[in-house]
Amino acid sequence: MKKAFDNSSPVLVILAVFLLWEVAGLVFKIDEFILPRPTVIFVTLFKWQHAIWPNAWQTLFTTLVGFGMAIVGGLLLGLLVGYFKLIYNALYPLLIGFNSIPKAALVPVLVIWFGIGTIPAILTAFLISFFPIMVNVATGLATLEPELQDVLRSLGASRVEIFTKVGFPRSLPYFFGSLKVAATLAFVGAVIAELGASNAGIGYLMVNASARFEVPLVFAGLFVVAAMGIGLYAIFAVLERRFTAWAYRG
Protein backbone atom coordinates (compact mmCIF):
# COMPACT_ATOMS: atom_id res chain seq x y z
CA MET A 1 0.00 0.00 0.00
CA LYS A 2 2.67 2.44 1.04
CA LYS A 3 4.91 1.41 -1.87
CA ALA A 4 2.08 1.91 -4.37
CA PHE A 5 1.55 5.36 -2.91
CA ASP A 6 5.28 6.17 -3.13
CA ASN A 7 5.32 5.23 -6.79
CA SER A 8 2.19 7.09 -7.75
CA SER A 9 2.80 10.18 -5.61
CA PRO A 10 4.41 12.25 -8.43
CA VAL A 11 1.39 11.62 -10.66
CA LEU A 12 -0.98 12.47 -7.83
CA VAL A 13 0.83 15.75 -7.18
CA ILE A 14 0.66 16.75 -10.85
CA LEU A 15 -3.05 15.88 -10.99
CA ALA A 16 -3.64 17.86 -7.80
CA VAL A 17 -1.92 20.94 -9.27
CA PHE A 18 -4.03 20.66 -12.42
CA LEU A 19 -7.19 20.30 -10.35
CA LEU A 20 -6.35 23.35 -8.23
CA TRP A 21 -5.53 25.32 -11.34
CA GLU A 22 -8.76 24.25 -13.03
CA VAL A 23 -10.90 25.12 -10.01
CA ALA A 24 -9.16 28.47 -9.52
CA GLY A 25 -9.73 29.29 -13.19
CA LEU A 26 -13.45 28.52 -12.88
CA VAL A 27 -14.03 30.16 -9.49
CA PHE A 28 -12.14 33.39 -10.23
CA LYS A 29 -13.33 33.44 -13.84
CA ILE A 30 -9.78 33.93 -15.15
CA ASP A 31 -9.76 34.90 -18.80
CA GLU A 32 -8.32 32.30 -21.19
CA PHE A 33 -6.25 35.09 -22.63
CA ILE A 34 -4.50 35.52 -19.26
CA LEU A 35 -4.28 31.94 -17.93
CA PRO A 36 -6.11 29.15 -19.72
CA ARG A 37 -7.35 26.25 -17.62
CA PRO A 38 -5.62 22.84 -18.01
CA THR A 39 -8.66 21.31 -19.72
CA VAL A 40 -8.61 24.10 -22.29
CA ILE A 41 -4.89 23.53 -22.82
CA PHE A 42 -5.39 19.79 -23.32
CA VAL A 43 -8.21 20.39 -25.78
CA THR A 44 -5.93 22.79 -27.66
CA LEU A 45 -3.17 20.18 -27.61
CA PHE A 46 -5.52 17.73 -29.25
CA LYS A 47 -6.94 20.24 -31.72
CA TRP A 48 -3.51 21.43 -32.86
CA GLN A 49 -1.74 18.08 -32.72
CA HIS A 50 -0.85 18.12 -36.41
CA ALA A 51 0.94 21.41 -35.98
CA ILE A 52 2.49 20.39 -32.64
CA TRP A 53 3.95 16.98 -33.52
CA PRO A 54 6.49 18.04 -36.17
CA ASN A 55 7.58 20.98 -34.03
CA ALA A 56 7.92 18.76 -30.98
CA TRP A 57 10.11 16.37 -32.98
CA GLN A 58 12.23 19.27 -34.15
CA THR A 59 12.77 20.48 -30.58
CA LEU A 60 13.48 16.96 -29.35
CA PHE A 61 15.96 16.44 -32.18
CA THR A 62 17.89 19.68 -31.65
CA THR A 63 17.89 19.10 -27.88
CA LEU A 64 19.21 15.57 -28.14
CA VAL A 65 21.94 16.47 -30.61
CA GLY A 66 23.04 19.43 -28.49
CA PHE A 67 22.84 17.35 -25.34
CA GLY A 68 24.85 14.54 -26.92
CA MET A 69 27.56 17.05 -27.84
CA ALA A 70 27.43 18.37 -24.27
CA ILE A 71 27.93 14.87 -22.85
CA VAL A 72 30.99 14.25 -25.00
CA GLY A 73 32.44 17.74 -24.53
CA GLY A 74 31.59 17.99 -20.83
CA LEU A 75 33.01 14.56 -20.09
CA LEU A 76 36.28 15.15 -21.92
CA LEU A 77 36.83 18.63 -20.52
CA GLY A 78 35.74 17.49 -17.06
CA LEU A 79 38.29 14.67 -17.14
CA LEU A 80 41.07 17.04 -18.15
CA VAL A 81 40.15 19.72 -15.65
CA GLY A 82 39.54 17.25 -12.81
CA TYR A 83 42.62 15.15 -13.40
CA PHE A 84 45.25 17.78 -14.07
CA LYS A 85 45.56 20.53 -11.48
CA LEU A 86 47.41 22.73 -13.96
CA ILE A 87 44.63 22.61 -16.55
CA TYR A 88 42.11 23.21 -13.77
CA ASN A 89 43.87 26.39 -12.65
CA ALA A 90 44.43 27.61 -16.19
CA LEU A 91 41.01 26.91 -17.64
CA TYR A 92 38.53 27.33 -14.82
CA PRO A 93 38.23 31.15 -14.72
CA LEU A 94 37.66 31.25 -18.46
CA LEU A 95 34.97 28.57 -18.28
CA ILE A 96 33.20 30.31 -15.40
CA GLY A 97 33.27 33.58 -17.29
CA PHE A 98 31.84 31.86 -20.30
CA ASN A 99 29.10 30.20 -18.28
CA SER A 100 28.10 33.55 -16.78
CA ILE A 101 27.10 34.83 -20.22
CA PRO A 102 23.33 34.52 -20.71
CA LYS A 103 22.97 32.04 -23.53
CA ALA A 104 19.97 33.98 -24.90
CA ALA A 105 22.41 36.79 -25.66
CA LEU A 106 24.49 34.43 -27.77
CA VAL A 107 21.63 33.42 -30.05
CA PRO A 108 21.89 36.52 -32.30
CA VAL A 109 25.61 35.88 -32.69
CA LEU A 110 24.96 32.27 -33.63
CA VAL A 111 22.39 33.45 -36.17
CA ILE A 112 24.95 35.76 -37.75
CA TRP A 113 27.37 32.85 -37.99
CA PHE A 114 25.07 30.00 -39.01
CA GLY A 115 21.83 31.61 -40.15
CA ILE A 116 18.35 30.96 -38.81
CA GLY A 117 17.42 27.31 -38.28
CA THR A 118 18.50 24.11 -36.62
CA ILE A 119 22.17 24.81 -35.95
CA PRO A 120 21.77 27.75 -33.53
CA ALA A 121 19.25 25.69 -31.55
CA ILE A 122 21.61 22.73 -31.32
CA LEU A 123 24.51 24.94 -30.31
CA THR A 124 22.49 26.79 -27.67
CA ALA A 125 21.36 23.47 -26.19
CA PHE A 126 24.99 22.35 -26.16
CA LEU A 127 26.36 25.56 -24.65
CA ILE A 128 23.83 25.69 -21.84
CA SER A 129 24.09 22.04 -20.81
CA PHE A 130 27.76 21.19 -21.08
CA PHE A 131 28.91 23.25 -18.11
CA PRO A 132 27.19 21.30 -15.33
CA ILE A 133 28.46 18.04 -16.81
CA MET A 134 32.03 19.33 -16.92
CA VAL A 135 31.93 20.77 -13.41
CA ASN A 136 30.52 17.59 -11.91
CA VAL A 137 32.91 15.23 -13.63
CA ALA A 138 35.80 17.46 -12.60
CA THR A 139 34.53 17.57 -9.01
CA GLY A 140 34.16 13.80 -8.91
CA LEU A 141 37.76 13.37 -9.98
CA ALA A 142 39.24 16.18 -7.91
CA THR A 143 37.60 14.97 -4.70
CA LEU A 144 38.96 11.45 -5.08
CA GLU A 145 40.12 10.39 -1.60
CA PRO A 146 43.94 10.32 -1.44
CA GLU A 147 43.66 7.11 0.62
CA LEU A 148 42.01 5.33 -2.29
CA GLN A 149 44.79 6.50 -4.56
CA ASP A 150 47.40 5.34 -2.03
CA VAL A 151 45.92 1.85 -2.07
CA LEU A 152 46.61 1.65 -5.79
CA ARG A 153 49.86 3.57 -5.73
CA SER A 154 51.30 1.23 -3.10
CA LEU A 155 50.69 -1.58 -5.58
CA GLY A 156 52.67 0.26 -8.24
CA ALA A 157 49.61 1.19 -10.33
CA SER A 158 50.11 3.59 -13.23
CA ARG A 159 48.15 6.81 -13.55
CA VAL A 160 45.96 5.21 -16.18
CA GLU A 161 45.21 2.29 -13.87
CA ILE A 162 44.39 4.61 -11.00
CA PHE A 163 41.98 6.38 -13.32
CA THR A 164 40.23 3.30 -14.68
CA LYS A 165 40.04 1.43 -11.37
CA VAL A 166 39.19 4.31 -9.06
CA GLY A 167 38.86 7.75 -10.67
CA PHE A 168 36.35 6.85 -13.33
CA PRO A 169 33.97 4.68 -11.28
CA ARG A 170 34.19 7.15 -8.40
CA SER A 171 33.08 10.06 -10.64
CA LEU A 172 30.19 8.17 -12.28
CA PRO A 173 27.57 9.23 -9.69
CA TYR A 174 28.61 12.85 -10.24
CA PHE A 175 28.39 12.33 -13.99
CA PHE A 176 24.89 10.84 -13.92
CA GLY A 177 23.73 13.43 -11.41
CA SER A 178 24.81 16.16 -13.79
CA LEU A 179 23.12 14.48 -16.77
CA LYS A 180 19.74 14.85 -15.09
CA VAL A 181 20.29 18.58 -14.64
CA ALA A 182 21.84 19.03 -18.07
CA ALA A 183 19.06 17.15 -19.88
CA THR A 184 16.45 19.65 -18.74
CA LEU A 185 18.76 22.59 -19.41
CA ALA A 186 19.28 21.36 -22.97
CA PHE A 187 15.54 21.84 -23.62
CA VAL A 188 15.78 25.36 -22.25
CA GLY A 189 18.64 26.10 -24.64
CA ALA A 190 16.90 24.67 -27.70
CA VAL A 191 13.64 26.50 -27.02
CA ILE A 192 15.40 29.80 -26.32
CA ALA A 193 17.05 29.63 -29.73
CA GLU A 194 13.83 28.62 -31.45
CA LEU A 195 11.98 31.57 -29.93
CA GLY A 196 14.01 34.05 -31.90
CA ALA A 197 15.95 32.28 -34.56
CA SER A 198 14.11 29.38 -36.11
CA ASN A 199 11.28 28.46 -38.38
CA ALA A 200 10.54 25.17 -36.69
CA GLY A 201 10.28 23.77 -33.17
CA ILE A 202 8.11 24.34 -30.12
CA GLY A 203 9.73 27.71 -29.47
CA TYR A 204 8.83 28.85 -32.97
CA LEU A 205 5.29 27.53 -32.53
CA MET A 206 4.92 29.49 -29.28
CA VAL A 207 6.15 32.75 -30.78
CA ASN A 208 3.71 32.36 -33.63
CA ALA A 209 0.85 31.47 -31.32
CA SER A 210 1.46 34.44 -29.03
CA ALA A 211 1.69 36.77 -32.03
CA ARG A 212 -1.83 35.64 -32.90
CA PHE A 213 -2.94 35.83 -29.23
CA GLU A 214 -3.57 32.07 -29.16
CA VAL A 215 -2.62 31.88 -25.49
CA PRO A 216 -3.90 28.29 -24.96
CA LEU A 217 -1.57 27.14 -27.75
CA VAL A 218 1.37 28.92 -26.09
CA PHE A 219 0.62 26.96 -22.93
CA ALA A 220 0.20 23.78 -24.94
CA GLY A 221 3.75 24.32 -26.21
CA LEU A 222 5.01 24.79 -22.63
CA PHE A 223 3.30 21.55 -21.63
CA VAL A 224 4.96 19.67 -24.47
CA VAL A 225 8.42 20.95 -23.50
CA ALA A 226 7.79 20.11 -19.83
CA ALA A 227 6.62 16.59 -20.73
CA MET A 228 9.69 15.95 -22.89
CA GLY A 229 11.92 17.28 -20.12
CA ILE A 230 10.38 14.91 -17.58
CA GLY A 231 10.78 12.04 -20.04
CA LEU A 232 14.46 12.66 -20.66
CA TYR A 233 15.10 13.20 -16.96
CA ALA A 234 13.39 9.90 -16.16
CA ILE A 235 15.54 8.03 -18.67
CA PHE A 236 18.73 9.29 -17.06
CA ALA A 237 17.40 8.69 -13.56
CA VAL A 238 16.88 5.04 -14.52
CA LEU A 239 20.36 4.80 -16.08
CA GLU A 240 21.83 6.38 -12.96
CA ARG A 241 20.16 3.81 -10.71
CA ARG A 242 21.45 1.04 -12.93
CA PHE A 243 25.07 2.09 -13.17
CA THR A 244 25.67 3.67 -9.77
CA ALA A 245 23.41 1.68 -7.45
CA TRP A 246 26.31 1.48 -4.99
CA ALA A 247 26.17 5.23 -4.43
CA TYR A 248 22.57 4.95 -3.24
CA ARG A 249 23.14 2.00 -0.91
CA GLY A 250 19.68 0.74 -1.72
Binding site: E145, E147, L148, D150, V151, L152, R153, S154, L155, G156, A157, E161, K165, V166, P169, R170, L172, T244, W246, A247, R249
Partner: protein, 260 residues
Amino acid sequence: MAFVELNDVTLEYVNEANVTRAIENVSLQIEQGEFVAIAGPSGCGKTTILKLVAGLLKATQGTVTVANERVTGPLKIVGMAFQNPTLLPWRTTLENILLPLEIVEPHKRLFRQNFSTYVEAAHNLLNTVGLDGFADRHPWQLSGGMQQRASLCRALIHEPQILLLDEPFGALDAFTREELWGVLQTLWQKRQCTVILVTHDLREAVYLANTVYVMSRRPGRLVSRTPIHLPRPRTLEDTFRADFIEYVHEIRRKITEGLA
Protein backbone atom coordinates in the same frame (compact mmCIF):
# COMPACT_ATOMS: atom_id res chain seq x y z
CA MET B 1 72.26 -6.91 5.22
CA ALA B 2 68.80 -6.85 6.76
CA PHE B 3 65.70 -7.31 4.60
CA VAL B 4 64.41 -3.80 5.25
CA GLU B 5 66.89 -1.08 6.17
CA LEU B 6 66.49 2.59 6.90
CA ASN B 7 69.85 4.34 7.14
CA ASP B 8 69.84 7.71 8.86
CA VAL B 9 66.60 8.73 7.15
CA THR B 10 65.16 12.21 7.47
CA LEU B 11 61.98 13.31 5.75
CA GLU B 12 60.64 16.82 5.36
CA TYR B 13 57.23 17.73 3.98
CA VAL B 14 57.58 20.90 1.96
CA ASN B 15 54.76 23.18 0.91
CA GLU B 16 54.69 26.86 -0.07
CA ALA B 17 54.49 28.17 3.46
CA ASN B 18 56.81 25.98 5.48
CA VAL B 19 58.92 22.90 5.90
CA THR B 20 57.78 20.25 8.35
CA ARG B 21 60.31 17.72 9.51
CA ALA B 22 58.32 14.52 10.05
CA ILE B 23 61.12 12.13 10.99
CA GLU B 24 64.77 12.69 11.79
CA ASN B 25 67.81 10.40 11.58
CA VAL B 26 65.83 7.18 11.73
CA SER B 27 67.90 4.00 11.37
CA LEU B 28 66.15 0.67 11.45
CA GLN B 29 66.94 -2.93 10.47
CA ILE B 30 64.18 -5.47 9.99
CA GLU B 31 64.87 -9.12 9.25
CA GLN B 32 62.86 -11.16 6.80
CA GLY B 33 59.80 -12.67 8.49
CA GLU B 34 60.06 -10.34 11.48
CA PHE B 35 56.96 -8.72 12.97
CA VAL B 36 57.82 -5.18 13.95
CA ALA B 37 55.56 -2.68 15.70
CA ILE B 38 56.22 1.05 15.76
CA ALA B 39 54.50 2.87 18.59
CA GLY B 40 54.46 6.52 19.50
CA PRO B 41 52.30 9.61 20.06
CA SER B 42 50.07 10.75 17.23
CA GLY B 43 51.73 12.93 14.61
CA CYS B 44 55.19 11.55 15.30
CA GLY B 45 55.82 10.30 11.78
CA LYS B 46 54.92 6.63 12.18
CA THR B 47 52.94 6.60 8.95
CA THR B 48 55.80 8.39 7.21
CA ILE B 49 58.06 5.41 7.88
CA LEU B 50 55.54 3.07 6.26
CA LYS B 51 55.23 5.29 3.23
CA LEU B 52 59.00 5.44 2.90
CA VAL B 53 59.26 1.65 2.95
CA ALA B 54 56.40 1.35 0.45
CA GLY B 55 58.13 3.83 -1.83
CA LEU B 56 55.24 6.29 -1.70
CA LEU B 57 57.56 8.95 -0.29
CA LYS B 58 61.18 9.76 -1.04
CA ALA B 59 63.60 10.35 1.83
CA THR B 60 64.94 13.88 2.10
CA GLN B 61 68.18 12.46 3.50
CA GLY B 62 69.43 8.93 4.01
CA THR B 63 68.50 5.74 2.19
CA VAL B 64 65.81 3.09 2.35
CA THR B 65 66.63 -0.37 1.04
CA VAL B 66 64.36 -3.38 0.71
CA ALA B 67 65.73 -6.79 -0.32
CA ASN B 68 69.14 -5.25 -1.06
CA GLU B 69 67.69 -2.71 -3.47
CA ARG B 70 67.40 0.99 -2.91
CA VAL B 71 63.73 2.09 -2.84
CA THR B 72 63.06 4.74 -5.47
CA GLY B 73 59.38 4.20 -6.30
CA PRO B 74 56.36 2.13 -5.24
CA LEU B 75 57.29 -1.50 -4.55
CA LYS B 76 55.37 -4.44 -5.91
CA ILE B 77 56.20 -6.81 -3.07
CA VAL B 78 54.29 -4.72 -0.56
CA GLY B 79 50.76 -5.05 0.75
CA MET B 80 49.25 -2.17 2.67
CA ALA B 81 46.25 -1.73 4.96
CA PHE B 82 45.19 1.57 6.47
CA GLN B 83 43.15 2.81 9.39
CA ASN B 84 40.26 3.33 6.99
CA PRO B 85 39.41 0.09 5.21
CA THR B 86 39.49 2.07 1.91
CA LEU B 87 37.45 -0.57 0.08
CA LEU B 88 35.95 0.52 -3.23
CA PRO B 89 32.18 0.83 -2.68
CA TRP B 90 31.26 -0.15 -6.25
CA ARG B 91 32.99 -3.51 -5.94
CA THR B 92 31.84 -6.51 -3.96
CA THR B 93 34.07 -7.79 -1.16
CA LEU B 94 35.48 -10.46 -3.47
CA GLU B 95 36.16 -7.97 -6.27
CA ASN B 96 37.84 -5.66 -3.77
CA ILE B 97 40.13 -8.42 -2.61
CA LEU B 98 41.04 -9.32 -6.19
CA LEU B 99 42.01 -5.72 -6.99
CA PRO B 100 45.78 -6.07 -6.38
CA LEU B 101 45.87 -9.04 -8.76
CA GLU B 102 44.55 -6.78 -11.52
CA ILE B 103 47.53 -4.47 -11.01
CA VAL B 104 50.57 -6.37 -9.79
CA GLU B 105 52.58 -8.45 -12.27
CA PRO B 106 52.71 -11.32 -13.02
CA HIS B 107 49.09 -11.71 -11.82
CA LYS B 108 47.89 -8.86 -14.01
CA ARG B 109 49.00 -10.74 -17.12
CA LEU B 110 47.52 -14.02 -15.89
CA PHE B 111 44.36 -12.54 -14.40
CA ARG B 112 41.86 -13.93 -16.91
CA GLN B 113 43.70 -17.18 -17.36
CA ASN B 114 43.99 -17.96 -13.64
CA PHE B 115 40.78 -16.29 -12.59
CA SER B 116 39.30 -19.33 -10.85
CA THR B 117 42.56 -19.97 -8.95
CA TYR B 118 42.58 -16.38 -7.77
CA VAL B 119 38.94 -16.51 -6.69
CA GLU B 120 39.72 -19.66 -4.73
CA ALA B 121 42.69 -17.97 -3.05
CA ALA B 122 40.44 -15.04 -2.14
CA HIS B 123 37.85 -17.39 -0.65
CA ASN B 124 40.55 -19.12 1.39
CA LEU B 125 41.66 -15.78 2.80
CA LEU B 126 38.06 -14.83 3.55
CA ASN B 127 37.69 -18.10 5.43
CA THR B 128 40.81 -17.44 7.48
CA VAL B 129 39.53 -14.04 8.62
CA GLY B 130 36.00 -15.35 9.22
CA LEU B 131 34.30 -13.60 6.33
CA ASP B 132 33.11 -16.64 4.38
CA GLY B 133 29.65 -15.99 3.06
CA PHE B 134 30.24 -12.26 2.61
CA ALA B 135 32.16 -12.39 -0.67
CA ASP B 136 29.29 -11.02 -2.72
CA ARG B 137 28.28 -8.26 -0.33
CA HIS B 138 29.30 -4.69 -0.95
CA PRO B 139 31.61 -3.05 1.61
CA TRP B 140 28.88 -0.73 2.88
CA GLN B 141 26.85 -3.79 3.81
CA LEU B 142 29.63 -4.90 6.18
CA SER B 143 30.40 -3.69 9.70
CA GLY B 144 33.60 -1.74 10.38
CA GLY B 145 35.36 -4.81 11.72
CA MET B 146 34.33 -6.89 8.72
CA GLN B 147 35.54 -4.19 6.34
CA GLN B 148 38.90 -4.17 8.09
CA ARG B 149 39.12 -7.96 7.74
CA ALA B 150 38.44 -7.60 4.03
CA SER B 151 41.09 -4.88 3.84
CA LEU B 152 43.62 -7.30 5.39
CA CYS B 153 42.69 -9.91 2.78
CA ARG B 154 43.23 -7.37 0.01
CA ALA B 155 46.66 -6.50 1.42
CA LEU B 156 47.64 -10.18 1.37
CA ILE B 157 46.07 -11.59 -1.81
CA HIS B 158 49.11 -10.99 -4.03
CA GLU B 159 51.32 -12.73 -1.43
CA PRO B 160 53.46 -9.69 -0.66
CA GLN B 161 56.76 -10.20 1.13
CA ILE B 162 56.16 -7.12 3.26
CA LEU B 163 52.89 -6.23 4.93
CA LEU B 164 52.57 -2.60 6.01
CA LEU B 165 49.78 -1.86 8.49
CA ASP B 166 48.89 1.70 9.38
CA GLU B 167 46.82 1.54 12.58
CA PRO B 168 44.52 -0.98 10.92
CA PHE B 169 42.46 -1.58 14.06
CA GLY B 170 42.51 1.99 15.37
CA ALA B 171 38.89 2.76 14.53
CA LEU B 172 37.42 -0.48 15.89
CA ASP B 173 35.84 -1.23 19.24
CA ALA B 174 38.00 -3.03 21.82
CA PHE B 175 36.39 -6.49 21.38
CA THR B 176 36.68 -6.53 17.61
CA ARG B 177 40.21 -5.17 17.81
CA GLU B 178 41.40 -7.91 20.18
CA GLU B 179 39.74 -10.55 18.04
CA LEU B 180 41.54 -9.26 14.96
CA TRP B 181 44.91 -9.42 16.75
CA GLY B 182 44.42 -13.18 16.77
CA VAL B 183 43.40 -13.17 13.10
CA LEU B 184 46.45 -11.16 12.11
CA GLN B 185 48.78 -13.39 14.14
CA THR B 186 47.38 -16.47 12.39
CA LEU B 187 47.80 -14.87 8.96
CA TRP B 188 51.37 -13.88 9.73
CA GLN B 189 52.31 -17.32 11.05
CA LYS B 190 50.86 -18.88 7.89
CA ARG B 191 52.49 -16.49 5.45
CA GLN B 192 55.82 -15.88 7.16
CA CYS B 193 55.92 -12.40 5.62
CA THR B 194 57.64 -9.38 7.12
CA VAL B 195 55.20 -7.08 8.91
CA ILE B 196 55.56 -3.47 9.98
CA LEU B 197 52.65 -2.41 12.17
CA VAL B 198 52.12 1.19 13.15
CA THR B 199 49.98 1.61 16.25
CA HIS B 200 49.40 3.74 19.31
CA ASP B 201 48.00 0.78 21.23
CA LEU B 202 50.85 -0.65 23.30
CA ARG B 203 49.02 -3.86 24.20
CA GLU B 204 48.47 -4.43 20.49
CA ALA B 205 52.16 -3.87 19.83
CA VAL B 206 53.29 -6.29 22.54
CA TYR B 207 50.70 -8.92 21.58
CA LEU B 208 51.68 -8.99 17.92
CA ALA B 209 55.30 -7.96 17.49
CA ASN B 210 58.72 -9.57 17.84
CA THR B 211 60.21 -6.15 18.25
CA VAL B 212 58.57 -2.91 19.39
CA TYR B 213 60.11 0.43 18.47
CA VAL B 214 59.11 3.63 20.19
CA MET B 215 59.22 7.01 18.50
CA SER B 216 59.54 10.46 20.02
CA ARG B 217 57.31 13.40 19.34
CA ARG B 218 57.74 15.27 16.04
CA PRO B 219 60.22 15.32 14.48
CA GLY B 220 60.07 11.58 15.10
CA ARG B 221 63.21 9.75 16.17
CA LEU B 222 63.47 6.18 17.32
CA VAL B 223 64.03 6.31 21.07
CA SER B 224 63.97 2.64 21.98
CA ARG B 225 63.86 -0.93 20.72
CA THR B 226 62.25 -3.67 22.81
CA PRO B 227 62.40 -7.31 21.73
CA ILE B 228 59.36 -9.22 22.99
CA HIS B 229 60.25 -12.70 24.19
CA LEU B 230 56.82 -14.23 24.63
CA PRO B 231 55.87 -17.64 23.21
CA ARG B 232 53.63 -17.96 20.15
CA PRO B 233 50.84 -18.21 19.42
CA ARG B 234 49.92 -15.55 21.94
CA THR B 235 46.38 -15.47 23.30
CA LEU B 236 44.20 -12.86 24.92
CA GLU B 237 44.75 -14.71 28.21
CA ASP B 238 48.47 -13.92 27.86
CA THR B 239 47.72 -10.21 27.87
CA PHE B 240 46.84 -10.49 31.57
CA ARG B 241 50.05 -12.26 32.52
CA ALA B 242 52.68 -10.44 34.54
CA ASP B 243 55.44 -10.64 31.91
CA PHE B 244 53.10 -9.22 29.23
CA ILE B 245 52.04 -6.35 31.46
CA GLU B 246 55.68 -5.70 32.38
CA TYR B 247 56.51 -5.23 28.68
CA VAL B 248 53.63 -2.78 28.26
CA HIS B 249 54.76 -0.80 31.30
CA GLU B 250 58.35 -0.72 30.12
CA ILE B 251 57.37 0.63 26.70
CA ARG B 252 55.02 3.17 28.17
CA ARG B 253 57.86 4.43 30.36
CA LYS B 254 60.06 4.85 27.29
CA ILE B 255 57.36 6.83 25.51
CA THR B 256 57.00 9.14 28.49
CA GLU B 257 60.75 9.64 28.56
CA GLY B 258 60.67 10.34 24.82
CA LEU B 259 58.11 13.07 25.40
CA ALA B 260 60.09 14.69 28.19
